[in-house]
Amino acid sequence: MSIELLRTSLSILLQGLVTTLLLSVASIVGGTLIGLLAAVLRSFGPWGTDRIARLYTELFRGTPVLITLMFIYFGVSYFGYAIDVFAAGVIGLSVYQGAYIAEVFRSGIESVAKGQWEVSQILGLSRMQAFAFVVLPQTGRIVLPPLIGQYLSLIKDTSIVSMIGMSELMHGGQAIVDRIGKPVEIYGLVALIYFVVCFPLSQWVRHHDRRRLS
């Protein structure tokens, strides 16, 4: 692999990396909001919303993310509307990862001892207050490692958005290989870039996650 090739490839790939990171951040925000909502609804939701939240997590945890993405991207066009591939990617990844993030939050909520609810009630806090000021602050420390772990898999999952035509890091690598070949060198370079992004996160998770069996 010549220096010239390396330089041009790197500039294409780093451009792709910027898109990958934008996609990741937007989906992390969306997925966390959806996940938190689904977890709260599933634990305390009134009027059957707990069942809807449960149906949501079951549905997305039992189907591939690629199907979710294709459903959104091609499904919208089937009904005669157009959707931007970036928007489809963000919505698809948020909704899909939201289901997993909801499970992370739920296990956090459930890990706070039941006695604390009763104590909060005796102290005169409403259910909302007890959740917001007693339970939620404690779940933060418990859920952070698995939550970061989920973000890590979200970042890796952004590569799948290339399959509906998003030109991010993975797609950049494919485009170069399509033009000049050298799959080992180019995909190796792409792998290296993903590794540099993911390795610090996964090391952090490894050192902070107490649940070794998951």
Partner: protein, 238 residues
């Protein structure tokens, strides 16, 4: 509306064939992943430093790169090394390599969850090293890791959808072909979505039944009530 579903009815044999292919790749890759995972777990706790480094490098490389990229490297990259694979075996190997790395972490945690005192006690009672592993450690570790392994089996099943990128006609690949022929995107994806739900729930149901029979006392993977008859419960994280 109904004629659209009639159109898809003609594709039922193709969907069934695709479902069978998906199941085959899932099970083959899972066998490979379990073997690789066990081997890597043993290497990562071995007294030989080189084995530990190799195991660690393998796990870190796999865990920190996307599975789609790993599939591409196996399918497009290995031919440069003189090894040519068709999409079927490239898929089995890539997914097996991927899940094997995650499973090795689970296995290692399971092996280490057996208290050291038991090993010493077994040694004093005159058991050999191999016996201690197969008779004392393995049965207890298997019980501890079983729910997590089932969870990875389901992840593996869902991961086979990515093999449509290397033109393997499994469920998702077949769906995209049928889409381009019929343009019935929503209906086709609905069929495939249900197919994945059925497959993942059937696999985890079988696994939970196995878990209840294989272990003594029976291992109940998911004790909670079922959800409105919508689907069988899937094995959750341990």
């Amino acid at each position: 509306m109904s004629y659209e579903w009639l159109t898809l009815w003609g594709y039922v044999p193709e969907f069934l064939k695709a479902g069978w292919l998906t199941l085959q790749v899932t099970l083959l890759a899972f066998v490979l992943a379990v073997l690789l995972g066990l081997l890597t777990a043993l290497a990562s706790i071995s007294p030989v430093a080189v084995f530990r480094y190799i195991a660690r490098a393998y796990v870190e490389v796999i865990r920190n790169t996307p599975v789609l990229l790993q599939i591409f490297i196996v399918f497009f990259g290995l031919p440069s090394a003189g090894i040519s694979l068709d999409a079927y075996w490239a898929g089995v190997i890539a997914l097996g390599l991927n899940v094997g790395a995650y499973l090795s972490e689970v296995f290692r945690a399971g092996i280490q969850s057996v208290p050291r005192g038991q090993l010493e006690a077994a040694g004093i009672l005159g058991l050999e090293r191999g016996q201690i592993f197969t008779e004392i450690v393995l049965p207890q570790a298997a019980r501890a890791v079983y729910p997590a392994i089932v969870n990875y089996l389901i992840q593996l099943l869902l991961g086979t959808s990515l093999l449509s990128a290397i033109a393997l006609p499994e469920l998702t690949g077949t769906a995209t072909v049928i889409n381009s022929r019929t343009l019935l995107y929503v209906q086709t994806f609905a069929v495939v979505l249900v197919a994945y739900l059925v497959l993942s729930n059937v696999l985890s149901w079988i696994a939970s039944q196995l878990g209840a029979r294989m272990f003594h006392p029976p291992l109940i993977v998911r004790p909670r009530a079922r959800f409105g008859g919508f689907a069988l419960r899937r094995a959750n994280r341990a």
